[in-house]
Homo-oligomer: 185 residues x 2
DNA sequence: CGTTGCTATGCAACAAAGTGCATAGGAAGA
DNA sequence: TCTTCCTATGCACTTTGTTGCATAGCAACG
């Protein structure tokens, strides 16, 4: 259970509605923590009844009204407690890795197009990240001093960039391996 | 739903009992697909009733008897179908990344020990992988020809190695960032 | 002989996540 | 006006995953 905490962090960075959170989970945050809007609304309900967040109805013109959530004191405490409790290294789920090993028992060359699709998805993400890095962290902060929020967001983004580069290189490795198997030898 | 498929691949590589599968999921396969023994037994039951796998009772001496599972024709077909259906890039869950961003709203330096713990876990895994690589792929295959199963397993292992190296480098980056924030500046 | 530990299998209850569907206001264009 | 799209919120159902517990054979040790 940590979707709660991801939401808390996002709301601390900037309060917003369930819908806005869902959009953030599609872009920046979603690259290291995924969640659908249904999940987010459900968890927000629970967080509200637990007193972790506060709601404010916001009337909007030209679009439906929204509920803006922000972090309450109890939410901050919960986040603090979670931050200080040790977390185990994440459990990984790479279905493509399963497929690569499984391809040995089917047609390995048939996997090439799928690996290429994944490679494309990862290069797209990398491009997206690099654009975001230039946009958000290209210039030093106006006041020249170290801003923890900004520095840590940048560190996480650098992690995303490193991850995508690693994946692209590995997928190239897999493609080379599949090609080698194809020429038979 | 892909635990089924991970199990099929594992059983194709080598038939075995639920217990043995659980142990494999703790080591090699578990590094890119995790599953507990309870899950495995439950899914094996379903796979058996769907005719994906076949069971054979094996009497053992010096230890309890076991049920050895192997892949049936329908299981092979199911695997083949899954291999050929496009899969979306994996959903990632990096709680440490959430924590790094969250640390901006708490005490960033308190996170250092946790990052170090993760770094240690990843170096341990890397060592484990590299030892496995030397053991299993150190010498060329005796007959000198390309074995798809072996080559693809090696490719997946190389992916694991690349992942751990990337993570260690990123965690060092995070540690440097946290240290920079600590000295204040 | 009792305890501990490893192999081996499984159930039950619960929590979390995913899938599908529904509703509703308003903008933009055919 | 009708359709389509975007914003905004949510329920119901199903599938997965987690946690805790239970059983049982056999070996090794004190």
């Amino acid at each position: 259970m940590a979707l709660e905490h991801a939401i808390l962090v996002s709301l601390l960075e900037k309060p917003g509605s369930g819908y806005e959170l869902a959009r953030r989970f599609e872009r920046s945050i979603g690259y290291f923590w995924t969640a659908s809007h249904q999940q987010i609304y459900r968890v927000l309900k629970r967080m509200e009844s637990d007193g972790w967040v506060e709601v404010r109805d916001v009337a909007q013109y030209g679009r439906p009204d929204k509920k803006e959530y922000s972090v309450a004191g109890r939410g901050r405490d919960a986040l603090s407690a979670w931050l200080n409790e040790p977390t185990e290294p994440e459990s990984v789920r790479h279905d493509l890795a399963v497929k690569v090993r499984g391809a040995a028992f089917d047609d390995p060359t048939a996997l090439i197009s799928q690996v290429e699709r994944h490679r494309q998805a990862h290069t797209d993400r990398l491009t997206h990240y690099l654009a975001g890095e230039t946009r958000d962290f290209g210039d030093p902060p106006p006041d020249g001093r170290l801003d923890a929020e900004r520095e840590l967001q940048h560190a996480v983004l650098r992690g995303g960039i490193a991850y995508e580069r690693m994946m692209i290189a590995w997928l190239d490795d897999v493609l080379a391996t599949l090609a080698r198997l194809d020429t038979g030898r």
